[in-house]
């Protein structure tokens, strides 16, 4: 997309000079007045054409040293410029995604000149401020005309789309703790647990259930041994990640911030359960709605690595289905479970995270 801005002072001076040259040519004929007049008349259109040619022939490529970025960590950004045209590019302004990235060594508004048939590159540090998938690095380039009368800015046609993983924090801990206590769910509740035969053994005492006797071990040791009963969660947990349906073109910094908070909350919540060794099912949109079982640390890592780049719906219908699932608490599929719903649409609202029993 092209944007043109006029400089007030430059325009005023230009118009004044133009008027003077018109007046001059109205009273005198010949070369001097006409060259002045025509010269003043053509400089603006020619500037515009020159800028268009510059933009047409400048190729810009961006790359970052790693495939997956981590929020808050510095990475190396490489921007290459190649001028394939015949006209030099002079003082091209760099317009950066400063609202979502931090940069080292370059800043918004820096200028670069590239000679005809020249290749140049810039190396800089980039820090992505939010998790998610979005364009980073160079957003656009700007050109000024020779006398600073107007400037034209263009968006870079192929910007670099980074996948930034969220950080795992204690953002969800307090909330889940309180809910846990209030609703008496999960690890901290004694009520919702039942005894199961464990692996620990002890000697048989009169009164122990016959079923608890481990006959194999008893035969080997030649005395009666019973299993020590273990506690087991009566219910398991399903985490619903109800992401917003966002068209690719709608991504702006506000949406990125929202997605960042959402992902961080979701990952932190998952980590909250996983580190307690609680088995967790995550229902999240990865193109289509997918159920991910998570019991071990490795499961969590897999989930973490794929999460930031792939949370999306392939269609609006899919989003609708997700919303229905959340509203109906899983259609009975998670009937015996505790349901944690994180809704991106309600980020920073009261109902952002809800814990409930499945229907």
């Amino acid at each position: 997309m092209m944007k043109i801005r006029f400089n007030l002072t430059g325009s005023f001076i230009y118009i004044s000079v133009l008027i003077l040259s018109v007046i001059f040519a109205s009273f005198y004929g010949g070369l001097l007045p006409y060259v002045l007049l025509y010269g003043n008349l053509v400089i603006l259109p020619v500037s515009f054409v020159y800028i268009l040619l510059n933009y047409k022939f400048i190729s810009i490529y961006q790359e970052i040293d790693v495939h997956r970025l981590i929020k808050g960590e510095q990475h190396k950004l490489l921007i290459s410029f190649e001028n394939t045209g015949l006209f030099p590019v002079h003082d091209m302004e760099l317009i950066l995604h400063s609202d979502r990235c931090g940069f080292n060594d370059i800043k918004d508004g820096d200028v670069i000149s590239v000679q005809a048939q020249e290749k140049s590159r810039i190396e800089a540090g980039i820090i992505c401020l939010y998790a998610g998938t979005y364009d980073v690095g160079l957003k656009g380039v700007g050109f000024k005309d020779v006398f600073g009368i107007f400037s034209v800015s263009f968006e870079v046609p192929y910007s670099f789309r980074a996948i930034v993983s969220p950080r795992i924090t204690d953002i969800a801990d307090n909330f889940l703790d309180i809910e846990n206590t209030l609703n008496s769910i999960g690890a901290k509740s004694d009520i919702k647990r039942e005894d199961i035969s464990g692996n620990e053994m002890r000697d048989y005492y009169p009164g122990d259930l016959l079923s608890s006797v481990n006959w194999k071990v008893s035969a080997r040791l030649d005395k009666l041994m019973v299993r020590i009963p273990d506690k087991q969660d009566t219910r398991r947990i399903t985490l619903y990640m109800e992401a917003s349906y966002i068209n690719d073109r709608e991504w702006d910094t506000e949406l990125i911030k929202r997605r960042d908070y959402f992902l961080e909350f979701a990952v932190s919540s998952a980590w909250y359960f996983v580190r307690k060794g609680i088995s967790l099912t995550i229902v999240c949109p990865v193109g289509k709605i997918t159920r991910i079982q998570m019991a071990t640390y490795e499961d969590f890592l897999d989930f973490y690595n794929t999460l930031s780049g792939s949370v999306s719906y392939r269609s609006a219908d899919e989003k609708e289905r997700m919303h229905k699932l959340v509203q109906e608490r899983g259609y009975g599929e998670d009937g015996d479970r505790i349901i944690v719903i994180i809704s991106e649409d309600d980020v920073l609202e009261k109902d952002f995270c809800v814990i409930a029993e499945g229907n």
Binding site: L31, L32, V35, I43, L86, Q115, K119, R121, A124, N247
Partner: protein, 789 residues
């Protein structure tokens, strides 16, 4: 970090050989231009000081100089690749000297023109170049450039003003000024690539330069044309809304007669347009001086009366009674025709010339003088009328000496018909019926309201008596009153306190009284009211006429516009034995006697003679002491019409040129990219062709699929968007494209990466998609067409 030069952040990856050349050339072209300016200025000054060098040789000289400078520059660049700038400057300087000597004896110097005083080309170019190089070595580059350019600017400006149009028309002059402009502009932002300024220069060389200043006339004409249109529109608006508001001054015009008494603003909007094939002027010889004069015909157009048949009968009867024959009648009566077209007129009245004998419109004969509904713009009345010269002494004699005790019944319809046919040459019966004639015979000639003197003041009665106390006949009385009133000052600015109306006797009395005894000034309404009341006080029936008084211009015209300020009011008096006669008491206009046709019995031989220019004097300018505003307006109008016509043609021409220009630009804009693309495709190598094909394919896919596409620049995205039947082919093609784009190194050509067959696959897919794209739009067009029809 503000400005990034080459350094740790901006690393120059590769400097191609011709990139160096491009950078150096830009700088060198700047130098060459500077040197060229100096040399060209030298030649111009040389020519201006009186040396006779033909333009052809001057141009040849410039070309040679430029050629040499380029040659030296290339040499300098070539040396510069291997050595430093000082050494290369030295090397080039010596070669310049050498070349100059070598070229000394070539035929260029042997021709007559060069012997006449032309400085040897090579030597001059070489010397200037050497000086230039030395200056560059001594001063810093920027300073030398700036100083040279500013000095050259100053010299050229002085030369322009002091040596006339210095350099205009010659190629050298063009080079000087265009180069100087570009060089000066480049000094303002000297870091900006000089390539841009070269582009500006290219455009400037293509633009024609004239010796005359800008001719603003066509623009002014167009602006005036637009302003006139705007003024006309404003007039229309103002006219149609003239009833609104409570201002004390009203605008002149026929429709404004209902409200009178106060100040009036003369307007020049066209209210009606007249068309006639008759002569609108006449010529005569003044017997006293022997000079020939030209006079203007004046027509009085009355509103709301239609054909006043009784008036015609009265006059014919009087003529009959005086034994007037055709020869006599021709002295002061002629049959005329006039078309009256309504323009901005808000009335239902039929406007017709006095003496009308038949009025028709597009629907047939007009019987009534007034319609309830207003006539629309474009309404036409076709009038046949008797144009009567009331100033003719023969006629005034008849008017002044009526036949007493005449019995109208004695002249039958048949006899009158015969008589009228004889003297007027008209078929009387076609115009007047027997019933109408009979009705006239029983009619006394005027209405009761024509003698109404109610509400007349005592002082007016006394005045009426005083004015006419010495008069014998009614006609004398009329003339006396007319003459008396004409002493009053004509003025359109009147502070009226009475708010009278011209529609009844009471209103007219008020206006007349105020005019005669209080204000002492007024315009036609005041004069007419006063005369009407004074006539009635003298026992003469009289009436108030409204309409227009129009004096035809000398020039024949297709149409004669009658303006708002031509609207007029005048009185008519019923003179026994003759009937109704109009008078002109308004001092701003001529009386009947002063606009007589001057026909004498001996000179009635055909129509008026046409005189040569220069022999003729305007009657009004020559003899009348009264101002004739209408005439002036008409003369001006004829000039204005011509000017408007000229403007219209100019405007049309300009619009045509602009239109053609726009069409050409649009065609260039539409066809240019297509041509450029096809040219690019033709000259591209295999790699370029495949890349172009791929660009086309992506464009066509976007066009074919109906979804909004977000272009991430990833070719595989399009697999879901392309029609199913091409999916497999596209899968191959985009992989070919990626292979070509990313596997290519500098040491690998396109042919090594992609086979000929693969190129054909890509092209074929593009062609198929193009057909698909075309079909889609044809389908859309077909559906829309079907829906529409």
């Amino acid at each position: 970090m503000g400005k990034m030069e080459t350094g740790s952040l901006l690393l120059s990856v590769k400097m191609m050989f011709w990139k160096k050349i491009s950078v150096l050339l830009q700088k060198e072209i700047k130098h060459i231009l500077t040197v060229l300016v100096i040399i060209s200025a030298g030649i111009e000054v040389y020519v201006m000081t009186g040396k006779n060098i033909s333009t052809v040789y001057m141009n040849v000289y410039i070309h040679y100089t430029a050629g040499f400078l380029f040659f030296y520059t290339v040499l300098y660049l070539a040396f510069n690749v291997f050595t430093g700038s000082r050494s290369s400057a030295l090397a080039v300087s010596s070669s310049a000297v050498m070349f100059s000597f070598l070229l000394r004896n070539t035929e260029v110097y042997d021709n007559a023109n060069s012997r006449a005083g032309m400085f040897p080309i090579g030597i001059l170019a070489g010397l200037v170049y050497i000086i230039w190089l030395l200056v560059r070595l001594l001063l810093s580059f920027r300073m030398s450039e700036l100083v040279t350019v500013l000095l050259a600017d100053l010299i050229m400006i002085i030369a322009f003003f002091n040596l006339g149009y210095f350099g205009s028309g010659s190629f050298t002059g063009r080079i000087i000024y265009i180069s100087l402009f570009v060089l000066t502009a480049s000094q303002i932002n000297h870091k900006y690539p000089f390539a841009y300024f070269l582009l500006v220069m290219l455009f400037l060389f293509m633009i024609p330069i004239r010796k005359e200043p800008i001719n603003w006339e066509p623009v002014v004409k167009v602006a005036v044309g637009v302003a006139n249109k705007g003024r006309e529109a404003a007039r229309s608006l103002r006219y149609y809304f003239s009833d609104f508001g409570t201002g004390t001054a009203y605008q002149s015009g026929y429709s404004s007669f209902a409200k009178t008494g106060n100040s009036v603003v003369l307007t020049d909007r066209t209210e009606i347009k007249l068309k006639t094939k008759d002569n609108t002027g006449f010529t005569f010889t003044d017997e006293a001086t022997g000079k020939r004069y030209r006079g203007k015909r004046v027509v009085y157009l009355t509103g709301g009366r239609a054909v006043d048949k009784n008036r015609i009968f009265d006059m014919l009867y009087s003529l009959y009674m005086h034994g007037v024959d055709k020869t006599d009648a021709d002295l002061y009566i002629r049959n005329s025709k006039l078309n009256i077209g309504y323009v901005y007129l808000k009335t239902g009245d039929e406007i017709a010339p006095e003496g009308a004998i038949r009025l028709t419109n597009d629907n047939g004969i007009i019987e009534e003088g007034r319609k309830k509904r207003n006539h629309k713009k474009g309404y036409n009345i076709y009038a046949e009328y008797l144009d009567i010269d009331y100033g003719n002494p023969y006629l005034t004699y008849i008017i002044a000496s009526p036949v007493e005790d005449a019995d109208k019944a004695l002249l039958s319809y048949e006899d009158m018909s015969l008589y009228a046919n004889n003297i007027l040459g008209i078929r009387f019966k076609e115009y007047f019926t027997g019933e109408e004639y009979l009705s006239w015979q029983g009619y006394k000639g005027y209405l009761e309201e024509d003698i109404d003197i109610s509400q007349v003041s005592h002082r007016m009665k006394e005045l009426a008596y005083d004015i006419t106390k010495n008069c014998v006949s009614d006609y004398d009385k009329c003339n006396a009153i007319e003459a008396y009133l004409r002493q009053y000052t004509y003025s359109t600015t009147v502070e009226s306190k009475v708010y009278g109306s011209t529609t009844d006797s009471e209103g007219m009395s008020k206006i007349a009284d105020e005019f005669l005894f209080e204000s002492g000034k007024g315009y036609c309404v005041h004069y007419a009211c006063a005369m009407v009341m004074l006539l009635r006080l003298n026992g003469i029936p009289s009436r108030f006429n409204t309409g227009y008084r129009y004096a035809f211009p000398f020039e024949r015209m297709e149409e004669y516009p009658v303006y708002g300020h031509n609207a007029h009011a005048w009185p008519s008096a019923y003179i026994k034995g003759f009937g109704w006669v109009s008078f002109e008491p308004t001092s701003a206009y001529t009386i009947a006697k002063d606009r007589t046709w001057h026909r004498q019995p001996a000179k009635i031989k055909g129509e008026e003679e046409i005189l040569k220019e220069g022999e003729v004097y305007s009657l009004n300018n020559g003899t009348s002491p009264y101002p004739t505003p209408a005439v002036t307006g008409v003369e001006e109008f004829s000039k204005v019409t011509e000017r408007n016509y000229g403007r219209m043609i100019n405007t049309f021409k300009m619009l045509l040129i602009i239109g053609l220009g726009v069409i050409v630009v649009v065609i260039i804009m539409l066809l240019g990219p297509i041509f450029y693309r096809s040219l690019r495709y033709r000259i591209s190598d295999q790699r370029g062709r495949i890349i172009l094909d791929m660009e086309d394919i992506i464009f066509l896919i976007k066009g074919i699929c109906d979804k909004a596409v977000y272009d991430r620049g990833v070719m595989s995205d399009y697999i879901t968007l392309i029609p199913d039947k091409y999916r497999e082919e596209y899968d191959k093609v985009y992989k070919i494209y990626y292979r070509l784009k990313y596997r290519s190194g500098n040491d690998m050509s396109g042919e090594e990466i992609v086979s000929k067959e693969e190129e054909i696959i890509t092209r074929e897919l593009r062609n198929k998609l193009y057909k698909e794209y075309k079909m889609k739009f044809l389908r859309i067009f077909y559906v829309k067409f079907k829906k529409a029809y």
